[in-house]
């Protein structure tokens, strides 16, 4: 941003200046001083927020500044101490996910665990996992899917359940269409968003074939006592209004070697997660021993989220 570089208020001796020039120079000086004053009054964190660079262009020091700013931000808004990580992808790791459709009972515990873990807005509701109920005799048919089922008890005997979240495509259409490069695929395969860079054009939402991207139509509401304080810069930090957000395989957990919240909560063990590059991992064994499929395979998005019938 511009700072006042021109001469400061005129010396009394300068009489050659015409009134027209004087007023213009005064005006420019005034604007410059106001801008400089505003910047000086801002904390480094506020400046970082306003003129934030793209996450991938930050140097180590600037990453620290961003983490500090987010920490401060959460403290002011929720009066909670949080830890903010910017843990990078680990070499030799590519995350994959498999979901056993024959086990899923449609209880939606994964949905609520995800909301809590990832600090999703309670009002308006944002949910990264959508559990679709489909008729057994119809097979997988999105047209006949019902995301709003409300039985007394699940599973309903005539239906099966298909939870859908970000499919973490190897060939993601969402990152391709983003006009400002605010979303990209990390080396461990997780598709992330820089929430400080997204301009909220929602092109990625139009491009995603799985309805996996969600927009903050209003200020997200997260109750302070329910805030998850273990945060990642590209993950579950509370998002600002007007940006798109999505599942990151719980980046704040999986880069620390833990399971995503949905895997941990699933009462029937339908959800499997691990390192595709490790031949001994559970996910690799499933891909080897079961017959898996991906959603909308004809679009060649090549998801790393697989479905299978384990029983």
């Amino acid at each position: 941003m511009s700072c006042p570089t021109g001469p400061l208020p005129l010396e009394p001796g300068e009489e050659t200046v015409t009134p027209e020039e004087l007023s213009r120079r005064d005006f420019l000086t005034g604007v410059g001083l106001a801008a400089a004053g505003y910047l000086a009054a801002c904390t480094p964190e506020a400046r970082e927020a306003y003129f934030a660079k793209h996450f991938l262009e930050l140097n180590a020091e600037e990453v620290q500044l961003r983490m500090a700013r987010l920490k401060e931000d959460h403290k002011t808004r929720y009066h909670r101490e949080v830890t903010v990580s910017a843990a990078p992808p680990k070499p030799g790791v590519e995350f994959g996910y498999a979901l056993d459709l024959s086990r899923c009972i449609g209880c939606r515990r994964c949905v609520y665990a995800c909301v809590k873990e990832n600090n999703q807005s309670r009002d308006p509701q944002v949910q990264w996992i959508r559990v679709l109920e489909m008729e057994k005799k119809g097979g997988i048919d999105f047209e006949a899917a019902n995301p709003y089922y409300a039985h007394e008890k699940v599973p309903d005997p005539d239906h099966f359940y298909l939870p859908v979240a970000c499919q973490q495509c190897r060939n993601p259409p969402c990152t391709r269409v983003c006009p400002v490069g605010a979303t990209w695929q990390e080396a461990d395969g997780i598709v992330v968003i820089d929430y400080d860079w997204c301009i909220g054009c929602r092109c990625c939402m139009a491009a995603c074939p799985y309805g996996a991207r969600h927009f903050n139509w209003a200020d997200p509401v997260v109750p302070a006592d329910e805030l998850n304080t273990n945060l990642h810069v590209l993950g579950n930090r509370v998002r600002p209004r007007g940006v798109v957000e999505k599942c990151t395989f719980c980046i704040q957990r999986v880069r620390e070697g833990r399971y995503p919240a949905c895997v941990e909560i699933c009462p029937v063990g339908a959800r499997k997660f691990g390192n595709l590059l490790d031949t001994e991992s559970e996910i690799s064994r499933i891909l080897r021993e079961k017959r898996v499929f991906v959603l909308k395979a004809e679009l060649k998005t090549e998801p790393k989220f697989y479905y299978f019938y384990g029983i």
């Binding site: 793209h54 262009e57 308006p124 959508r130 679709l132 048919d141 999105f142 047209e143 006949a144 899917a145 995301p147 859908v164 259409p173 391709r176 269409v177 983003c178 006009p179 400002v180 490069g181 605010a182 860079w197 997204c198 301009i199 909220g200 054009c201 929602r202 092109c203 939402m205 139009a206 491009a207 995603c208 074939p209 799985y210 309805g211 991207r213 969600h214 927009f215 903050n216 139509w217 209003a218 200020d219 600002p240 209004r241 007007g242 940006v243 798109v244 679009l299």
Partner: protein, 410 residues
């Protein structure tokens, strides 16, 4: 200094006028204030004031944006015969087509900004300063071509007007190459806009290679339809001489464009309804409703029938030369393309959504107010530019100006 002496009276003239002019401008300013207040609400509370949701994430704003890109591109319909074939009767009104293009692009950019969740981060789109995802993202291309097209038209129009004020002929070495460049640029803005949609495999309603040709055909109908009505208003309210011959020629071109538009629509409908894949759902939502949701159905049939009726009116010389039927035809085309390229393009693609859910969208009052404000801004830009341009075109300024301009005027 000399230039200022010429430009200032022209600008003063832009804001002077009779009662009708004052009422018109005041009305536009009121609409802008009313819509501006709605935009303030949207800025402070978020896009929640719209009826867009995750299922239908683009709607009224993007629909209007798409329609107006077509209007802006249509200046080319006048430019091609005027400059390439040296066709005199149209040449004198080309500048008005370009003024319309400028106004339309201004509205396009405003609709895009209105749709953005974080408009203050718009600078992220600027190459070098920001981080434009070029050439991968088609939206980045669109930002570039729209701004290039705007700059082109502003340069051409300012040069023509500036020389007009001075009473000197325009510099053909500058204007002709720029005008020729604006022809592919106009085709470019509409093609690139179509490619934003056509490139999305997630949305079968858009993911069709026929989309860009359909865009161009409908643009060549809607832009001239607006211009024909404006020309007639200007014929009556100003001293500008627009020959009937020019109007009829434009109307004839529109008949061909409308035929192609209807033909391409028919080709698409045949493919979808005969093969009956799951892609048909979106057309069914548009033309017959889906699972009891049928908000778009009357509009869908309206655009088909208006299009056919307008095509017939413009096809026959007798009806396109009759003032009444000509204007009816223009209104029919305007209505048809506004529905087709506006909500008719965006809503069916989003309904049902990618996971099969039908969320029926209708715009909120906030969206309509913001839309009205943007249209009012466009009309105001057009009105003021015309107020400056027309006396220059008719030589009113030149006659009152310097001796040099008086000599040129005679």
């Amino acid at each position: 200094m000399n230039a200022l002496k010429l430009i200032v009276p022209a600008l003063q003239h832009a804001f002077r006028g009779g009662t009708a002019f004052k009422v018109w401008v005041a009305g536009l300013l009121c609409m802008m204030a009313w819509g501006g207040a709605a935009y303030y609400d949207q800025l402070t509370t978020g896009l929640i004031v719209t009826n867009m949701r995750d299922q239908v994430s683009w709607a009224f704003y993007i629909g209007n944006f798409t329609f107006l890109v077509g209007v802006a591109a249509a200046a080319v319909v006048l430019v091609i015969p005027a400059y390439i074939y040296g066709w005199k009767p149209i040449k004198e009104v080309v500048i008005l087509g370009e003024i319309l293009a400028i106004s339309a692009i201004v509205m396009c950019l405003m609709f895009v900004v209105a749709d953005m969740g974080r408009p203050e981060r718009g600078w992220h789109l600027i190459p070098v300063i920001g981080k434009m995802n070029f050439p991968r993202a088609i939206l980045a291309w669109d930002v570039l071509v729209l701004n290039l097209y705007l700059v082109l038209n502003v340069v051409i129009v300012s040069h023509l007007l500036y020389r007009g004020i001075q009473g000197r002929p325009y510099n053909p070495n500058l204007v002709v190459p720029l005008v020729l460049l604006s022809v592919p640029a106009a085709v470019g803005i509409h093609t690139v806009t179509a490619f934003i949609y056509a490139g999305m495999a997630a949305r079968p309603y858009w993911n069709a290679s026929i989309l860009a040709p359909r865009f161009l055909c409908s643009a060549f109908c809607s832009g001239p339809a607006i211009m024909l009505i404006l020309f007639q208003i200007l014929q009556r309210t100003t001293k500008i001489a627009i020959k009937d011959e020019a109007i009829w020629k434009v109307a004839e071109l529109m008949a061909y464009a409308m035929f192609l538009n209807l033909f391409l629509l028919g080709a698409e409908l045949f493919k979808e309804y005969y093969s009956r894949t799951e892609h048909l759902l979106h057309f069914q939502y548009l033309f017959s409703g889906l699972h009891g949701h049928s908000a778009l159905v009357p509009y869908a049939w309206a655009f088909v029938f208006c299009g056919i009726a307008a095509f017939l009116i413009f096809l026959f010389p007798a009806t396109r030369r009759n003032v009444v039927t000509l204007n009816v035809g223009c209104l029919l085309i305007y209505a048809s393309v506004y529905i087709e390229k506006g909500m008719g393009l965006v809503m069916p693609a989003m309904t049902p959504d990618t996971l099969g859910e039908v969320y029926e969208y209708t715009p909120t009052l906030h969206e309509l107010r913001i839309g009205a404000a943007i249209f009012s801004t466009g009309f105001l830009v057009f009105t003021l530019l015309c107020k400056v341009a027309i006396p220059i075109l008719t030589g009113e300024f030149a006659a009152k100006g310097s001796p040099a301009s008086q000599a040129a005027a005679h």
